[in-house]
Symmetry: C2
Subunit: 399 residues, 2 copies
């Protein structure tokens, strides 16, 4: 049984399945809490600082099951980047409320914050088991085969590019779609799964891991358009030039960074798509072609009707496992997903230090930079994550 | 039984269910064609001009059923705006191939084209039954309660705004989403169905039917943000000022019109969302708030995983009914949807002239311009069209 009170919080960007993890923690905590309190912090770490708690023992398990299937962070989230002092204040608040288990669901920044709180809490002599539960649509947490939230975002991206390709085959032209992903290309690369017939788009994929060159891009797009009669391109918002500078940032004069030092791509993504569009336009001088560039927005992480059931299942399990690990090992750590078969997973409990603040990139066997296309390894990696009942598209056969 | 050969074409923007109509025509024609040919024209009216036909007798009915569930126009479409001369050429091609029945699926521009072909064909003495089959995500065809394609686009919009609202409740801020709809606000207004709890967004809706004033807009948004702690807004791409000028057009120097004289909103929608965003930003001077403006793109009419089953059924039926009407009445006309109950429909066969090139607007009992919000009449009108298995979202109850 767990000693002391329990606190749950959600950090960073919401996903379609992060509430599964919250509910996984709540239900398993109810079983093991031995009558102690189970709190939720509103708006992440800030809710702890402001002692903005909600008593999670009150909610019916029936409503919790419905919340689990609802996208976005039901407790609210935050982009706060806590200083050491901020984290120290938090540990005193944890002490005040006799909180001995802190479950924090999030990505690299969240795990970094939790790692600081973990150290501070030992310093002040109020030991808290700080358990990090993985979540990020970027899929860029180390020690994890993949992270909850990514599969559902990928499913949305596949749907988008499936539909877009059909639209562009019907009314031929060029389409450029800008996809989420600051450092890692996993989500942009997911667009590849939308391709069914040989002539289908997307035809080209650009990810942050490989230097982006606008001249090469223009040539690639023109060649594909000439070859297939239409051209669909997926571009990561995080593409960088050969010196590692964000293309989106080089286009703007602003220095719009959040507290984590992350440049706010969301505010300049239209600039990126407009830039790519106008550059491609130059290649076609007098030729009148249909040309569209779009920035795929917040829906990538919150669309209610395209949630992967595999993602739901795993997001629930990392929540439940977090409580089991806390109970069994009585120490801090991070829950991590390991792939054990085609397709099966198991969960590990790894040192917080190993995950905290680190970034995973697309491995080299997943992407062919010359072809601007994914490898079969990546197709095999992603397909089972998309879940069951994926839409399929069909065409008329040749006479 | 139908005399002479049969030709099917699709016009204008694709939708998620337009292939249901094609398949409805093909399967019913196969039953009634008396051994005559059933052709499809590739890329709409242009395919007729170029005699780019496909023999639709060859395809298996099994594959046709799968194509019916695939979004976008399987025969290809066109934005060509045919002149009288163009239409006359077409009638000679129809004569050459002994085509006596032309089924053309599309919106106002498509019905206008078909009306010209209808007249030209009598002039040259080769009578063709020109049957218009309704389709448009804009829902702006007269004589129709609603049009196939609109319900599925509306379902996508409801999903988008459901997810966006949850995202903005989790990480508070302001969100402005620009929705398709050149003249009529039906699709933008669909966002209202995403609201479940009182505090939920969207909080404000702006449609082309009511003059848009930027000062009023800024005040509305600020007030809603102060009241609810977050603010979600749906804005039609077709909003106009009090003199009827498109706001998007007033922001750009270009005169980017298609052959129909329609200003290309797609190419300037980012300009509109950026403009609204920067204007709202001014209201908050030094206050740091999360502010996003997005243009919802082509996915609105092509997303494969959010298709209304009611829309599928009706799109199939208008195709099948078109052939039945042609067979029964042996004359040109347009298939129209009439609502006969809550919820049921029946189909009418109306004069082409009545529908051709005309535009339907949101009726006054559907929208409250002062409140920037839909009426209960509109909620009741739209809800059954969205179809079954709509996602629902849930929250934690107050302690």
């Amino acid at each position: 049984m767990l000693k002391g009170n329990i606190l749950i919080a959600q950090g960073g960007g919401p996903t379609a399945v992060i509430n599964e993890s919250v509910v996984g923690v709540i239900l398993e905590s109810r079983r093991l809490c031995n009558g102690n309190k189970i709190y939720g912090a509103r708006y992440g770490i800030r809710g702890i600082l402001e002692e903005n708690f909600i008593d999670l023992s009150q909610e019916t398990s029936h409503n919790l099951e419905l919340i689990a299937k609802t996208p976005s962070s039901v407790l609210g989230s935050t982009r706060d980047y806590p200083s050491d002092e901020y984290c120290e204040k938090i540990t005193y608040i944890l002490q005040k409320h006799d909180i001995k288990h802190l479950f924090y669901i999030g990505g690299n920044d969240t795990s970094r914050t939790l790692n600081i709180i973990n150290k501070k809490s030992s310093e002040i002599g109020h030991n808290v088991n700080c358990i990090h539960i993985p979540k990020t649509v970027d899929n860029d947490l180390v020690c994890n085969d993949h992270t909850p939230g990514f599969p559902s975002a990928a499913r949305f991206i596949v749907n988008i590019f499936m539909g877009i390709n059909l639209d562009l085959q019907s009314l031929p032209g060029i389409y450029i779609g800008v996809v989420m992903g600051r450092d890692s290309g996993f989500l942009t690369a997911a667009a590849a799964l939308a391709k069914k017939y040989t002539e289908d788009g997307p035809h080209l994929i650009y990810i942050p891991e490989h230097a982006f060159c606008i001249e090469e891009f223009k040539k690639d797009v023109k060649d594909a358009y000439k070859k297939y009669g239409h051209c669909v391109v997926a571009v990561s918002e995080g593409i960088k030039d050969k010196d590692g500078n964000l293309i989106a940032k080089t286009l703007c004069n602003t220095n719009n960074c959040d507290q984590h030092g992350n440049y706010s791509l969301a505010s300049v993504n239209n600039t990126l798509s407009e830039f790519l569009c106008s550059e491609v336009k130059k290649e076609f001088a007098d030729e009148k072609i249909r040309l569209r560039a779009e920035t795929l927005g917040l829906a990538q992480r919150s669309y209610p009707e395209s949630i992967s059931d595999v993602d739901q299942r795993e997001a629930r399990e990392v929540g439940e496992k977090a409580v089991k690990f806390a109970n069994k090992y009585g120490k801090s750590g991070s829950v991590a997903i390991e792939r054990t078969g085609f397709y099966s997973v198991d969960y590990n409990f790894v040192d917080l230090e190993k995950v905290a603040g680190k970034t995973k990139f697309m491995p080299s066997n997943f992407f062919n930079a010359d072809k601007k296309w994914v490898t079969n390894d990546y197709l095999l990696y992603l397909r089972p994550l998309l879940g069951s009942k994926m839409p399929e598209v069909f065409k008329l056969r040749k006479n």
